[in-house]
């Protein structure tokens, strides 16, 4: 049908034109602001992760610009939606690289990290991804992993579990990479009595909890998506499970502000592990960060926002004094002992970050860092 073919060609023309316009603008503006591209799951099952990531990014951009920008130029962020889909994520990344000509890329969650990493490396684009998997950054020059280590967190927690005298321990988790890594970490310390999973998107874990109850476990490691913690707590309470909770990614997930406020009774004797952010810290820089975050109306994922905040500031710092992207990766790789709001950060010559992780105890109303 001629009509349809005309329609189709118009569509293609539209894409081409809008793209040309955009890239023409970018050429003009190459002396103007730095632009970082953020590919986030703004829609889809992981949209929860995008929201607090955005707040962290926005605050970071504000602070970078307030401090004079990068090399005297301001910083801007261009957001793209991945919808949690790998193909869409690569399209978003290609658009940011080829059309917007960004200076760096950032993404969260494993599928996006995995999909974008090859594109970033091939396009020689500095790229930070935040997910629990190391493999995408291995043997790369431009791809960096900036996220706390799930394996380390869970082995830290497991040691505490054993110290508290629990003989039978259960791990329940979303069937995702951080759970598998947490399992490895926990089992490196002691065997698990029960290991239950559910597919991301499910909300009913009652039978999994019944199985855990039946196994006689007295401690549970909760390695679940932040958005699923309310469901889990509700079901633990309704089933009358008598267990002590150990929460990896505590600040981000099951020990976050809202979840803690809603379930203090379930968290008696609970421990958490997370990147070394002390949410109760009185350090003025951190208090300022926290206040501004809360003022945006998002009070519950301070740690999560802190991690993305730091990633942006790391990239900005790496750009200082650089006029090409390879230089940026050198700076990033040699970043050691950088004090971010989410703790001490360092790459120590590697593509994979080392972030200090610590243990916290729930004292009845808040999480307190356990001094080792």
């Amino acid at each position: 049908m001629k009509k349809t073919l005309v329609l189709l060609s118009l569509l293609l023309l539209l894409v081409a034109c809008s793209g040309q316009q955009q890239s023409a603008q970018s050429v003009q503006q190459s002396k103007e602001p730095y632009q970082f591209g953020a590919v986030l799951p703004l829609t889809g099952t992981n949209s929860f992760y995008a929201e607090f990531a955005k707040y962290g990014i926005e605050l970071a951009v504000e602070d970078v610009n307030k401090a004079g920008g990068i090399n005297g130029r301001q910083l801007q962020i261009i957001y793209e939606d991945s919808g949690g889909d790998k193909a869409k994520a690569t399209s978003a990344a290609q658009k940011l690289i080829d059309v917007d000509d960004v200076d760096a890329l950032l993404t969260v969650t494993t599928p996006m990290g995995g999909a974008i990493a090859p594109v970033a490396e091939a396009s020689k684009m500095p790229f930070i991804y935040e997910s629990a998997t190391n493999s995408f950054a291995v043997n790369k020059t431009y791809v960096f992993k900036d996220y706390p280590d799930a394996t380390e967190m869970c082995s830290l927690l497991m040691k505490q579990v054993k110290k508290d005298g629990h003989e039978k321990v259960a791990l329940i988790g979303t069937n995702a990479e951080f759970t598998l890594l947490c399992k490895q970490g926990a089992q490196s310390v002691a065997p698990l009595t029960s290991f239950e999973t559910y597919t991301g998107g499910e909300t009913d874990y009652r039978t999994q909890f019944v199985k855990i109850q039946n196994s006689g476990s007295t401690a549970i490691l909760l390695s679940i998506f932040a958005g699923d913690c309310p469901h889990a707590y509700k079901q633990i309470r309704e089933l009358g499970l008598n267990v002590t909770i150990y929460a990896p990614f505590q600040g981000l997930a099951c020990g976050s502000g809202d979840n803690t406020k809603a379930n203090p009774d379930l968290l008696k004797g609970a421990y958490g592990a997370d990147v070394a952010v002390n949410e109760e810290s009185t350090d003025p820089a951190f208090v300022d960060f926290k206040t501004r975050l809360v003022a945006r109306g998002w009070t519950t994922q301070i740690t999560g926002s802190a991690v993305t905040y730091d990633s942006i500031r790391e990239l900005a710092k790496a750009y200082e004094g650089c006029d090409n992207k390879l230089c940026v990766t050198d700076h990033l790789r040699n970043l050691n002992d950088y004090q971010g709001v989410s703790g001490t950060i360092g790459y120590h010559g590697d593509q994979i970050v080392e972030r200090a992780v610590n243990l916290r105890k729930f004292d009845g109303s808040k999480w307190v860092v356990v001094q080792s």
Binding site: T45, G201, D204, T207, D228, H231
Partner: protein, 291 residues
């Protein structure tokens, strides 16, 4: 050991009741309208989120909020019927096209919900005492869900078999052209069907929102489960779809007792496969599917 068995069965029944709440409306619309109204899940989500807005954000009376939320769902469903499906029906769209239109409508509404309420999980707090039944634990809300799904089923049966409207609806379902010659206006029947179906979605949304918390994607997840349960029983028979939903719930929960919990979404299908190998005409056979 028997209290564990009781708890498992109860888990299955609770899950099944939730799926049944979704499946009944979906199946009603399918049997009369002859297409899959996937956006039923979105209508459900609207009910849940409106309940949250009225009861939690605005602090209005709880029961008033329920009524308003259900009304909101009915409006949303009817709006979809009038603005999306009716124009397509007028243009003689195929049922496959109606399905894709339905999915687009669901995408639209889900995005709207995300925009309006945000991506975080919301909950509707209620006093929810826990009871012990045969060593298993069940909450008041869960009892309500099971009870309501049974009552609604009975009401629907009564509607379809004993009322004039029900007879007219079945006439349109059997043969639209013949029904027209007897003076029944199919479009009016479709309107009524959407109102009733969306009423069911609204009730489901309110109950499920209270029981399982609210998140923007809830409509999609529940639509898939409801669709599955409905087909297991019989897509064009409301009692069948309810039965199928309970079977789905039970099989899922009892199944992962014996198998690793990661296989939960697959177990029901494996069993279904095996079942369909021996009985390809489905659970209730051909006769019930005509009902």
């Amino acid at each position: 050991m028997s209290s564990i068995a009781a708890q498992l069965i109860l888990n299955g029944i609770i899950a099944g009741a939730i799926y049944a709440l979704v499946a009944s409306g979906f199946s009603l619309i399918y049997s009369i309208g002859k297409f899959m109204h996937f956006a039923h899940g979105a209508v459900l989500a609207v009910g849940a989120y409106m309940m949250y807005t009225f009861a939690v954000v605005l602090h209005w009376n709880f029961y008033l909020s329920i009524i308003l939320a259900v009304l909101a769902s009915m409006c949303a469903g009817q709006l979809m019927n009038l603005t999306v499906y009716r124009p397509l029906r007028k243009r003689k769209a195929s049922s496959a096209v109606l399905l894709i239109a339905s999915i687009s409508a669901m995408t639209f509404v889900n995005a709207l919900i995300l925009l309006a309420w945000g991506a975080d999980v919301k909950s509707i707090p209620v006093t929810n005492p826990v009871f012990e039944v045969l060593g298993a634990r069940i909450t008041l809300v869960q009892v309500c869900i099971i009870g309501v799904s049974m009552i609604l089923l009975a009401c629907l049966w009564f509607l379809m078999k004993r009322t004039t409207l029900g007879k007219a609806m079945r006439a349109v379902a059997d043969n639209k052209e013949v029904a027209q010659t007897v003076g029944i206006n199919p479009e009016w029947i479709y309107s009524q069907t959407f109102l009733i179906g969306s009423f069911l979605a609204g009730v489901a949304g309110v109950l499920i929102g209270i029981e399982q918390n609210l998140y923007p994607q809830m409509g999609v997840q529940l639509a898939i489960k409801g669709f599955t349960g409905a087909i297991i029983g019989s897509l064009s028979s409301v009692p069948g779809s309810v039965l199928g939903s309970f079977i789905l719930g039970l099989v899922e929960n009892i199944g992962i007792w014996y198998l690793p919990s990661g296989y939960k979404d697959a177990i029901a299908f494996v069993l279904l496969f095996i079942f369909l190998l021996f009985k390809p005409s489905g659970l209730l056979g051909v006769k019930a599917r005509e009902a």
